[in-house]
């Protein structure tokens, strides 16, 4: 993708330390590293509570990205990698994390992570990642019951949305709000394929549609696609959305409308609005790491 001078697709990278936790007083320091095709995330936990986290764009090398995200999460915490008792790797790049003791599928980690973030009432998780979509059914412990992975096409993924943001020169964080600013919901774009949807969008703009209307049409098509997937595994309350696109209110609201079910929001369980839905996989991995470490200690 040829990036315009202003990079509309770029979302903010960051690290964060949670205040009030003293890692030296903890029994188990565990790490979860989620290397996705678009973003790399780390969550460090002290006795199962989130202590530090980082989110950044994945580079061209998975091991390299893993090291960078882990080191960034550890920055200014007083901890080094040696202090982390056990690391579980997950995500697309999970087998290439040199410092992880075990790799666990992102499906299991997202299920566990959603349970951690929202509690034992969660039954259906929709993960909209950078390059794929997953629909996951879990039990009260966050254990996976059924899942569907949609792993090929940019439609309904973060990358698809990035392409559109770039096409319309709208910063990606504004896409959701602007798509909801329309007076009347327009007809959705007819092509699922991002490449064809782009041509369609150009045609719509030419015939007088506003950018907000085009965004609405695209968000509607993406929401519909995602609901289609969800219906294949069946949706049971409570329903939550993880992954980067959970922050796109335009998609979230349309998915909720089509399903007739409200999704729990990020601040509805952990109470901390900064707890990023993008971190669900890494959080689940960190929790698995804690259990595996405790098991290894006998």
């Amino acid at each position: 993708m040829k990036m315009s001078k202003e990079e509309f697709w770029r979302w903010p990278e960051y690290r964060h330390t949670v205040e009030g936790i003293d890692p030296t007083k903890g029994k188990v320091i565990s790490g979860g590293v989620d290397i996705g095709s678009v973003s790399s995330k780390t969550v460090i936990m002290v006795d199962g509570e989130v202590f530090a986290q980082s989110v950044m764009r994945t580079g061209s090398s998975s091991p390299d990205s893993a090291e960078r995200t882990m080191n960034w999460a550890l920055e200014n915490t007083g901890l080094t990698l040696k202090d982390v008792n056990y690391v579980v790797g997950t995500g697309y790049g999970r087998v290439n994390i040199p410092f992880a003791q075990k790799a666990i599928t992102e499906i299991a980690c997202h299920g566990r992570g959603a349970n951690f973030m929202w509690g034992p009432t969660v039954r259906t998780v929709l993960d909209m990642g950078g390059q794929d979509c997953k629909a996951i059914r879990v039990d009260e412990k966050g254990k996976v019951q059924n899942f569907l992975m949609n792993d090929k096409c940019a439609a309904g993924t973060g990358r698809g949305m990035e392409v559109f943001a770039d096409l319309l020169s709208v910063p990606i964080q504004e896409v959701g709000d602007r798509s909801l600013a329309v007076k009347e919901e327009p007809q959705s774009v007819s092509s699922t394929c991002v490449v064809f949807a782009k041509s369609e969008a150009v045609g719509l703009l030419r015939s007088g549609w506003s950018k907000d209307e085009v965004l609405a049409a695209y968000c509607q098509a993406m929401a519909h696609r995602v609901v289609d997937l969800l219906n294949r595994v069946g949706v049971e309350k409570e329903f939550v959305i993880t992954g980067g696109i959970a922050k796109n209110i335009g998609i979230v609201k349309r998915v909720e409308k089509e399903l007739g079910i409200q999704a729990l929001k990020p601040d509805q369980w952990r109470g901390d609005p900064r707890f990023d839905p993008m971190l669900a996989g890494a959080a689940g991995a960190a929790l698995f790491a804690k259990v595996l470490y405790e098991r290894s200690q006998g």
Partner: protein
């Protein structure tokens, strides 16, 4: 009781392989008969329990339509070899084009 669905739906149709992990015992017969090496047996990392199960190889997950196409001839209702080979009927294919033409 975990049903794992690998594959995708795109504008041209739906292409999924569904695996009933409760029925799969990791015997690997499906992987042996697949002419395109789509399937593999891996340690069960769906949770932190043990055992082996079947999985769709990562590089094939986004091209099941193409990888599985040669086993789904337009004429004849033959089951793909992986489905026939499985002793516990743990595998099913859901492959169909957008216009409903069964793949």
């Amino acid at each position: 009781m975990l049903i794992a669905n690998y594959g995708y739906k795109d504008g041209s149709g739906e292409y999924f392989i569904a695996l009933d992990t409760a029925k799969c015992d990791g015997c690997g017969k499906c992987a042996e008969v697949c002419p395109a090496s789509v399937l593999e047996v891996i340690p069960n990392d769906f949770d932190i329990d043990d055992g082996n199960i079947m999985s769709v190889q990562e590089q094939h997950r986004h091209k099941l339509k193409y990888s599985c196409a040669p086993c789904k001839k337009t004429s004849g209702d033959d089951e793909p070899p992986c489905v026939s080979a499985c002793p516990t009927q743990a595998i099913s294919h859901f492959l169909s084009t957008a216009k409903g033409q069964m793949l």
